[in-house]
């Protein structure tokens, strides 16, 4: 059971997102020289939502950061909004996934400072969003 694989399926399976990044949804961060725009996600917290005296609950709650990276502020904002539209409330079992996502919600989002990739002078823009979600095995 992997929440990340379900998340990948949700993001890349959403037309509004895949039209911008295709399947460039990466764990942690994009590779050096990664084609932009792209998304990167990282798990911040993955907890047993309600352990019992009989063992762990089957439901888990996560906090996950999704970072939108693009060459222009407008492209970055548009990508972030596309992700937000999909993730502000998602409930379902992503196609082919072993994870049933019970709900998601946006906790916070912010523009990270304009960054400059090593060896270049061309700036890139980064928007970070943190989502909370609850899931269990499908």
């Amino acid at each position: 059971m992997s929440f990340e694989s379900g998340l990948f399926t949700v993001l890349t399976g959403t037309v509004g997102i895949s039209a911008i990044v295709a399947s460039r949804v990466r764990p942690m961060e994009g590779s050096q020289g990664e084609t932009r725009p792209f998304l990167a996600y990282s798990l911040q917290d993955d907890e047993d939502v309600s352990p019992t005296h009989a063992g762990p609950s089957t439901t888990r709650r996560v906090s996950i950061d999704i970072v939108s990276v693009a060459d222009t502020y407008e492209a970055c904002r548009a990508l972030g909004e596309a992700v937000r539209d999909r993730m502000k409330h998602y409930a379902g079992t992503p196609s082919g996934s072993s994870v049933a996502i019970r709900w998601t919600r946006l906790e916070t989002q912010s523009d990270i400072e304009q960054a400059v990739p090593p060896g270049t002078e061309k700036p890139l823009y980064v928007r970070s969003q943190t989502y909370r979600a609850m899931y269990r095995a499908a």
């Binding site: 309600s50 019992t52 005296h53 009989a54 709650r61 609850m134």
Partner: protein, 142 residues
């Protein structure tokens, strides 16, 4: 002295004929407990102070024992909830068994049954009840 884990506690209910030390016969366990609070026995205090009390110090003697109330929480399950609602108010036997097989049993009744609904968590059933009469200490199950 052996240490007893809190994890693994179990709450059971049965008819008043259920034997407290029976392993499972006559008992039904409530699954997925998240919080277990056994009844607290509390003894009334009766003041016996008089004008001649030694050293001008109040004196007391023990009175009646209040057998207490129990408070259990578990993951909500509609079937279990319906069953517990069906026995609410009826005199039954209950017991809490710890991970080492010891515990406490009593006769009593469920006073209240409620649901706690957390928008970002799981729904919890809370069971509160009253003990009637003396509790029975259980040292081991048969």
């Amino acid at each position: 002295m052996p240490e007893v884990d809190g994890f693994g506690a179990a709450f059971w209910y049965g008819e008043t004929s259920a034997v407290f030390t029976a392993a499972t016969t006559g008992w039904t366990a409530v699954a997925e407990l998240t919080d277990v609070t056994p009844p607290e026995e509390d003894t009334d205090e009766i003041e016996t102070t008089h004008h001649g009390s030694t050293a001008k110090t109040r004196t007391y003697q023990a009175g009646l024992v209040n057998p207490g109330e129990f408070d259990i929480a578990c993951h909500y399950d509609k079937t279990v909830y319906g069953t517990l609602r069906g026995i609410r108010g009826a005199e039954k036997n209950y017991r809490i068994i710890l991970s080492d097989g010891s515990g406490v049993g009593w006769t009593g009744f469920i006073k209240s049954l409620s649901k706690e609904i957390d928008m970002e968590g799981l729904t919890i059933t809370r069971i509160k009840g009253k003990v009637s009469g003396a509790q029975t200490l259980i040292t081991a199950l048969a």
